[in-house]
């Protein structure tokens, strides 16, 4: 069964943000990687790209289908998780440890619109 981690902010489209100071680490939830099945490719933006809350910034591909990644918050990409280029299956092994991009948050108040773990769990069970 899916693992739900406390202390993160979650979006309805199953991305999470882990906040550290002015930075946010964005990835997909364990629930999302379960639903996708074997991840075979992660399409990531480049460092210095701007991402906008609610807009697509990349995609995660399973054998069968591509799923867009939707930015839960806005900001500038300061780092991408390069390990996913060679080992996209890391998302299946531990989706929370393997974030996809690190952004410098441009508007931390956007976090208020996201869900905490309890609300997100309820969202997944609905």
């Amino acid at each position: 069964m899916a693992n739900f981690l406390e202390g993160l902010y979650y979006s309805e489209s199953h991305e999470y943000v882990r906040v550290e100071g002015e930075f946010g680490y964005i990835g997909i939830s364990d629930y999302a990687q379960h639903a996708l099945g074997n991840v075979v490719y992660v399409d990531m933006p480049e460092v210095d790209d701007e991402v906008t809350a609610g807009e697509e910034f990349g995609a995660v591909e399973s054998v069968k289908a591509a799923s867009d990644l939707i930015a839960p918050v806005s900001g500038t990409v300061v780092e991408i998780n390069e390990a996913l280029e060679d080992e996209p299956e890391l998302l299946n092994k531990d989706a929370f440890a393997n974030w996809i991009i690190k952004v410098q948050l441009s508007d931390p108040s956007e976090l208020d619109a996201l869900m905490d773990v309890e609300a997100y769990k309820a969202h997944c069970e609905a």
Partner: protein
């Protein structure tokens, strides 16, 4: 509302991911696509393909009728011989691709795609004027299993107790087992849609349920969903109606001319297909291999120097050779092997090169 096959409850009990396909609610995967794919390549897998449609054509004009609607040539076929081919419209577009089993003199068993059953049966009925035949639509009677993989012969013989060793590639025989109704025996054929050796078994719902249970109990055969059925058929370049063939994509455009016998006296679409073969077609189906790992999917644009010159029909990160590849319908001038072009994947374009449409070699036992 989608139909359920006779194995629906078993799929749900196994925890399969179920999804609509061709008017049916079908298992897409039980464990994961990669494991199921590899089971078929290396050992043995079983697919519920009961969604496929079956039509029996009998009567004094049955052979003449099949010759009329079918692009391949069944004249003088030995009993049990199976032919792959298409039914085409007069303009050469494809109604469906299908298998034709010769079960007796003027007795043919036609296997059609699930999504096309209603359309095909209507089409067949429209074409039968002037032919003394009976069309018996048997899709609701038959269930079907595909047992596929290098170990499938042993599994069918030993687990199911069905004699199949002697069957040659693309031949079938009716078996005196499993009850069945008049004119609808259990049929076993050495056929499949995976590029591996394998068998397809047609029988009543009860017979298919019992066979499935025996296969599951044996532990020698992995249940496989339509997800890996698609990756398996794609890798060996087999077309799927709706992707590589359609009312707009003729068998000549799809590179399937070998199944279009223009030396037959007549069949529907012959003139158009002969013209296409003689004068060329505006678009052709090709294989494309990408340098990058990004995955081209159905409907993505194919470009040359920024201009759209075609569209992806099926694409995957090919499981057996670890490359991103696709089949695509492109303007004929860009269809030569080695042609460099690009595929648009979301916001980016990725360079690719035209290659053969077969990304993995078939392992048939002939």
């Amino acid at each position: 509302m989608e139909k359920k096959t006779c194995l629906y409850d078993r799929h749900v009990a196994l925890g399969a991911l179920m999804s609509p396909f061709g008017g049916f609610i079908m298992p897409i995967q039980y464990s994961n696509i990669t494991d199921e794919h590899n089971a078929v390549r290396q050992h043995c897998g079983v697919f519920d393909v009961s969604h496929m449609g079956e039509v029996r054509v009998t009567g004094p004009d049955a052979e003449r009728y099949v010759q009329h609607i079918f692009t391949n040539d069944v004249a003088g076929a030995p009993l049990g011989q199976i032919y792959y081919g298409m039914m085409c419209y007069p303009n050469g577009g494809t109604v469906d691709d299908l298998l034709v089993y010769k079960m007796g003199e003027n007795d043919f068993f036609l296997v059609i795609n699930a999504a096309n059953i209603d359309k095909d049966v209507a089409w067949m009925n429209e074409q039968k004027d002037g032919f003394n035949i009976v069309l018996d639509h048997q899709s609701d009677y038959y269930g079907q299993l595909a047992v596929q993989g290098p170990e499938s012969e042993a599994v069918v013989e030993e687990v199911l107790g069905l004699p199949c060793k002697e069957l040659k590639f693309y031949t079938a025989k009716p078996l005196p087992v499993g009850g069945g109704r008049e004119g609808a025996p259990v049929i076993v054929s050495r056929t499949g849609y995976t590029g591996e050796d394998g068998f397809e078994i047609y029988g009543s719902h009860e017979f298919i349920q019992q066979a499935w249970d025996k296969l599951m109990e044996s532990g020698r055969c992995k249940p496989c969903g339509l997800g890996c059925r698609d990756t398996l058929r794609f890798e060996v370049g087999l077309p799927l109606y709706g992707d590589e063939l359609s009312a707009d994509i003729s068998p000549v455009m799809a590179g399937l001319s070998i199944f279009v016998k223009l030396d037959k006296p007549e069949f529907i679409g012959k003139e158009a297909l002969a013209e296409q073969k003689a004068n060329g077609v505006p678009q052709k189906l090709v294989g494309i291999e990408l340098a990058d790992k990004a995955i081209p999917r159905h409907g993505y644009a194919v470009l040359k120097d920024g201009e759209v010159i075609g569209e992806v029909t099926t694409g995957y990160h090919c499981l057996s050779v670890d490359k991103s590849v696709c089949m695509a319908l492109v303007k004929t001038e860009y269809s030569k092997l080695g042609t460099e072009l690009e595929v648009q994947i979301r916001k980016k374009t990725f360079p690719g090169v035209v290659v053969k449409k077969k990304f993995y070699d078939k392992h048939y036992k002939k």
